[in-house]
């Protein structure tokens, strides 16, 4: 009855797993990425068809399965087509929650019909299957509620600021230990329904508690982490039901999310523990206005000034941040760059690893605005070019350009890798106000002689510059 008894199905699952690896391999370059995605789709199709062809599959069951795929697929297709590219982070969070929830339901159904997977009879499951099932259940539940909270924060359904209360970490630790104890009891019980759902409930609670203290701008780490969790949950279920495709995919996704989390943490020079404990940043920079800067003078300019300076430059680097995404200014930025290029100015884009609300967020937004990907550069590649750059146009970014990260050991962002825009001849800062950035620290760049502040909405300001350039 089990899938693994039929070598044909096992081979099909193995082929799927290989195709998934190739799909990820394709992402090493934009040229090969699309073909990679098609290989991934092929892998999924093979896995689904092979399972439908399972010798024990009931005809009615197959019909119900196809119904489920059609309903789910229709919803997925509508959402994927309609979603705005700025809203990608919350979409990814929502999708992660579904993987977590699916893992919970597969675990629940394996508990009710273990004979389908060859792991025992109801109430008498194999010991190792119960352990594997608990892992899938607990991580799946955490992924579900964690992703729901991340979604709510990104969609601004709840405040992005950290929610912290006394004894929070002790509470989490206590619940964690309780879950472990319950898992042991669950395994000894041979698969108690009650214990199963108590473990699920506590894990769902932990998912909420883990994500609420993490601030909005740490979302790139949260999304990567949830990505990783969803992988480990899938792997746990893969072990439970003895499915190779699921185990391999779970391992791939698990390591992918873990590596992305690592890259994001490194981009902020913070440890994953520091991010997880949360409480960093306030999300609304305006609230954290630093009084000490009040007496220093800043130079501010108009769109016309900016247009004049940039059109007379030979090289301009654009540094976009989350503010550009919020203002939906990417199209205006591309238009500005086109006009500058017509005047013979060299234009490049510099992306900080943690800019935006998810890894690679800025790259997608710029691609959406039809900025060619070979004009967009990562921090390590472009950082030594700032000293030979005439003008840097910083739009919606702040902390990632702050020289205090290199010079002031007392600063909370000290040690964070920054884009060294201070080395350029002139820095143009598009900002709505003098408010400090997410980290709540003052940016000394604002007060330098070669800095010009452009106060206003990122999109409006850029459009005005476009108008001035057109004159």
């Amino acid at each position: 009855m089990n899938s693994t008894t039929d070598p044909g199905i096992t081979v099909a699952y193995l082929v799927s797993a290989v195709l998934f690896i190739l799909a990820l391999r394709g992402l090493s370059h934009p040229e090969t990425a699309r073909r990679g995605n098609l290989l991934g789709i092929a892998g999924m199709a093979i896995a689904i068809l092979a399972t439908l062809d399972h010798p024990g599959m009931l005809l009615g069951g197959a019909a119900v399965i196809i119904l489920g795929i059609v309903i789910g697929g229709a919803v997925g297709a509508i959402v994927a087509r309609r979603v705005n590219m700025t809203a990608l982070p919350q979409l990814v969070a929502a999708f992660h929650s579904l993987v977590g929830l699916a893992a919970v339901f597969v675990a629940a159904s394996a508990l009710n019909a273990p004979q389908s997977f060859g792991i025992g009879t109801p109430g008498h499951l194999r010991l190792e299957s119960l352990i594997e099932m608990s892992v899938g259940l607990a991580i799946g539940s955490i992924t579900f509620t964690g992703a729901v909270i991340a979604f709510a924060k990104l969609q601004a359904l709840m405040s992005g600021s950290p929610i912290i209360f006394r004894g929070q970490h002790k509470l989490n630790l206590g619940i964690g230990i309780l879950i472990l104890a319950l898992v042991v009891m669950f395994v000894i019980s041979g698969g108690s329904q009650t214990l199963f759902w108590v473990i699920a409930a506590l894990s769902l609670a932990i998912g909420v508690l883990l994500i609420i203290p993490i601030g909005g701008a740490d979302m790139p780490v949260v999304i990567s982490m949830l990505n990783s969790y969803s992988g480990w949950a899938a792997a746990g279920i893969g072990f439970t039901i003895g499915n190779v495709a699921l185990i391999v995919t779970g391992a791939l996704v698990g390591s992918s999310g873990a590596i992305l989390s690592y890259i994001m943490c490194k981009g902020m020079n913070r440890s994953i523990i520091n991010v997880l404990l949360g409480g960093f940043g306030t999300d609304s920079g305006a609230a954290a206005l630093v009084g000490a800067s009040g007496d220093k003078s800043v130079k501010s300019g108009s769109a016309e000034d900016a247009a004049f300076i940039m059109s007379n430059a030979s090289k301009v680097i654009v540094v976009p941040g989350y503010g550009m995404a919020v203002a939906q200014a990417q199209h205006a930025v591309r238009e500005m760059a086109e006009l500058l290029k017509e005047e013979g100015v060299e234009v490049k884009y510099a992306i900080h690893p943690v800019a935006g609300r998810m890894p690679g967020h800025m790259n997608v937004l710029l691609a959406e605005a039809q900025v060619p990907y070979d004009e967009v550069f990562e921090l390590e590649t472009i950082n030594n070019e700032f000293s030979t750059t005439d003008v840097v146009y910083v739009i919606g970014a702040n902390d990632v350009t702050n020289p205090a990260a290199k010079t002031n050991p007392a600063s909370p962002i000290y040690g964070m890798p920054i884009l060294e825009v201070d080395k350029a001849k002139t820095v143009l800062f598009v900002k709505r106000s003098m408010a400090s950035g997410y980290a709540g620290v003052d940016n000394e760049l604002f007060f330098r002689d070669n800095t010009m502040m452009l106060f206003g909405d990122a999109k409006k300001m850029t459009e005005e510059i476009v108008q001035a350039l057109n004159k």
């Binding site: 009855m1 899938s3 008894t5 699952y13 797993a17 990820l24 992402l27 090493s28 934009p30 990425a33 995605n37 689904i48 439908l52 399972h54 599959m57 009931l58 119900v64 399965i65 789910g72 697929g73 919803v75 997925g76 297709a77 994927a80 087509r81 979603v83 990814v92 999708f95 992660h96 579904l98 993987v99 339901f105 597969v106 159904s109 394996a110 009710n112 019909a113 004979q115 389908s116 997977f117 060859g118 025992g120 999304i223 990505n227 899938a234 279920i237 893969g238 039901i241 495709a245 699921l246 779970g250 391992a251 390591s255 590596i259 998810m358 890894p359 790259n363 997608v364 691609a367 990562e378």
Partner: protein
């Protein structure tokens, strides 16, 4: 406690232990019959460890510019959990198992189609400089 009492207790304990052992043996035999179809854990674990290593090297080769599509596509492929949901739905079992299976199939279905489509949409936007 007299030696006789001790001996008596020991005897009863031994008797219980024997009964337990017999039960355990019976249980193990029952388990063995039921579970012959499930691949051995060590075999699955070996595959898992290898896949973690493959994942490690493959993911580090992904260009940072495509980290968003990476998140979307890993999300789509992790929905291969649908194979578990399909077996839970389509093989003989009780109504509860079938219902949970169906819910999981639908959820994974959203993710599979949505995940691959949104990845394709994103990747379609990455264009080279027009020369």
């Amino acid at each position: 406690m007299t030696p006789a009492e001790l001996a008596g207790q020991a005897a009863s304990l031994a008797h219980k232990a024997a009964a337990l052992a017999q039960n355990a043996a019976g249980f193990a035999a029952e388990q063995a019959v039921v579970h012959t179809n499930h691949p051995p854990l060590i075999y699955l674990f070996a595959i898992f460890v290898m896949a973690v290593f493959v994942g490690y090297y493959v993911i580090w080769s992904v260009t940072p510019a495509l980290h968003s599509p990476l998140l979307a596509v890993t999300n789509a492929i992790s929905s291969v959990i649908i194979v578990g949901a399909m077996l839970a739905t389509g093989l003989p079992g009780d109504l509860t198992a079938h219902t949970f299976g169906f819910i999981a199939v639908t959820l994974a279905g959203v993710n599979i189609i949505g995940g691959f489509l949104v990845t394709q949409r994103m990747l379609g936007m990455f264009k080279k400089k027009a020369k």
